[in-house]
Amino acid sequence: MINNKHDPPHLNKKDLQRGMIVAMGVFGLFALLVVQFFKLQITQGEKWTSKAKNLHEIVISEPFQRGTFYSNASVKKGHPSSPEQLVFDVPKFHLYIDPDSIPVNQRDTISEKLKTITNISKESWPHFRKQFDYHSRSRRLARWLNRDTKQEILDWWKPYARQHEIASNAIYFIGDYQRSYPFGKLLGQALHTIRGSKEEVTKQGIPTGGLEYYFNDYLKGSLGKRRLLRSLRNPMAKGELISPPQNGADIFLTINHYLQAIAEEELSAGIKQAKAAGGWAVMMDPYNGHILALAQYPFFNPANYKKYYNSPELIDHTTCKASTIAFEPGSTMKPLTLAVALKANEVLEREQRPLLFNPEEKINTRQGVFSGRSRPLRDGRVHNFLNMYLALQKSSNIYMATLAERIVTTMGSTWYRQQLADIFSLGKPTDIELPAESSGLLPTPGKKYSNGVDQWSQATPYSLAIGHNLQVNSFQILKAYSVFANGGYSIDPTIVRKIVSTDKDGHQHLLLDHTKRDYHNYPRVINSEIVRQIVTAMKYVTKLGGTSIQADLRGYTEAGKTGTSEKIINGRYSDKKYISSFVGFTPVDKPQFVLLVVVDEPLRVYIPGVGKNWHGGTCAAPIFRRIADRALDYLGITPDDPHGYPRGDPRHDPEQADWILEARQLRKLYQEWND
């Protein structure tokens, strides 16, 4: 073929085919590229973005705050104030190092400097220095540093790291929250604490007991997440908060911090005066069941919990004995016996049968022989004849046992036991919001003890009538006496006013509300006439001729009863160790509170001019008086016995003091019957 330069090149079919194939190939490669782009950017876009982010960033946990406990500031009327924080979380920092980033020749210098700033104890020095030699990216050096210490370390470290060309994040801090107690040991046994070390993964606090344990599920929070930049120059400064932490719910207690402080102060002074092993005092509002104070001595300081748990002697002081210890109430049971007897009268009157007894009735109390008892009952001193008011004033065992005998004979043992359970809830836990509440013991006919002995025998009613052969915890006693204080209603005690949680958006949710409790919403267990008679009898106890003159308040009326019982040690009554108590309420008309004081193992000595130190009237009654006097003064309650002050006080007027005429009349009656 002759090539002519002016002719265009002639493409034959084969060339065209080859050209198409090449073009298709190039197009196909481009198409693959586009598909790959689509796959990477669109369908797998999120996956690769997150991988890239992980290379550049890390996500760390953001600590949460455990719920706070608040006191009750609404008790004192006309004195508006905010609830005080009894326990709350304070921000602290843990010091960490990245040993692999710290040159070996700098480790001694850095550790010495950090030791000085953090003020580590000498015993911890070897362990402290050893952390630098681990082949690791993270070792903890110190815990719970405050911001000032952290800032001091950073102020030294930044220029040092720059000067010696060490990565600035070779030393870093992790924020945390530490449980703090601004009021120290106040309410220690009830509040308790959490351990110094938290759960590894969830960072939840591990409670040691008390309310921290009981309400752990409410107090717990959940960790948040924060994104930080991976950079040698970035000193682990805070980055973006991905999800905020969820703090625990806050618990508002019924405890008033001032009443608590008053109770603790007077309790410790009284226990020391009685030379007792310990004791506790509980104050309750009889109209709504709110526990206003819960004091226990020796105290427990939650901030130093390790000291207590590492000592066999001190560990006993960490439990809240008001709920965990059930004891024989002794003579504090006697008003309950009288109430049951009067209830029997009510039933008999309805059935038009002869009454069990008359409160004014003159009953022979010279001899204490009762069928079923191997030994006769005795009173503190011999009384020939007593009526109901004298019997309670003198705390007569024989009178009470006589009534019990009549109850059992007329109404039956089962009825008697049922009344104690139904009216006063004896033998049943009160469900107070504290762990390990003892349910106490009320013997039951037909049941046996663990040693095979029958719980109920012929002699049991006499023992029950005087507060023996049964066990009650302090909240059960308060609940029983609240029946007399509020006019006949059985109200459950509670230590919580409300529980409030705040969600991540800041909205508050009420999880539990006991603020509007009212005794009228609880069952009435005895009528007001029975209450009136029992309260009248109890008023004599703290007056002239009574066993608890030392519980007579200055300027206020009160009604109460003492109790003294031998402690049961290894299954037997001890003749050296006692548990003594006084329980009462004040003022008598519209009581502000019911208060129980328990003294554990008062010294068994006789105090000349005063009496037996181990008796409730001697060791527990004065504590009751001092706590009640100061509490009423704090609450601003107007004295309702304006002349009921001791001799020497200008307000003292024995002729006008409350219940003095009645007490004198009763004493005259006693003298007529017994002298």
Binding site: K77, G78, H79, E84, Q85, F88, V90, P91, N146, R147, S180, P182, F183, G184, L186, A237, K238, G239, H257, Y258, Q260, A261, I262, E264, E265, D633, Y634, L635, G636, I637, T638
Partner: protein, 97 residues
């Protein structure tokens, strides 16, 4: 010549728009960089608030205040009786206006 002018105008416009965009990006980045120190400051203020509140609570500890009340210089202080306190019910009229 006309083509050159048109080309110049296009390049100039595109360049200006790009400049404005980058400038806005710089402003946004400046704000973005300012956030962490401000957040840190807020956090520090909150922490300081908590520390001060803790110190205040420690001083206002009722045990501490009761101890102070026993001292002679504070013996004149008394708890007011409820009869001495006048309680005025508060009506919030703001919403009614």
């Amino acid at each position: 010549m006309g083509l050159l002018v048109r080309l110049f105008i296009c390049i100039f416009t595109a360049g200006s728009l790009l400049y404005l965009y980058l400038d806005k990006q710089n402003d946004v980045m400046q704000l973005y960089l300012a956030i962490p120190p401000l957040a840190r400051e807020v956090r520090q203020l909150n922490e300081q608030n908590t520390r001060l509140r803790y110190k205040l609570e420690r001083f206002e500890n009722p045990i501490n205040l009761l101890k102070l009340s026993h001292q002679p210089e504070f013996s004149y202080l008394k708890n007011p009786s409820l009869e001495e306190v006048v309680i005025i019910p508060f009506e919030d009229n703001y919403d009614k206006q």
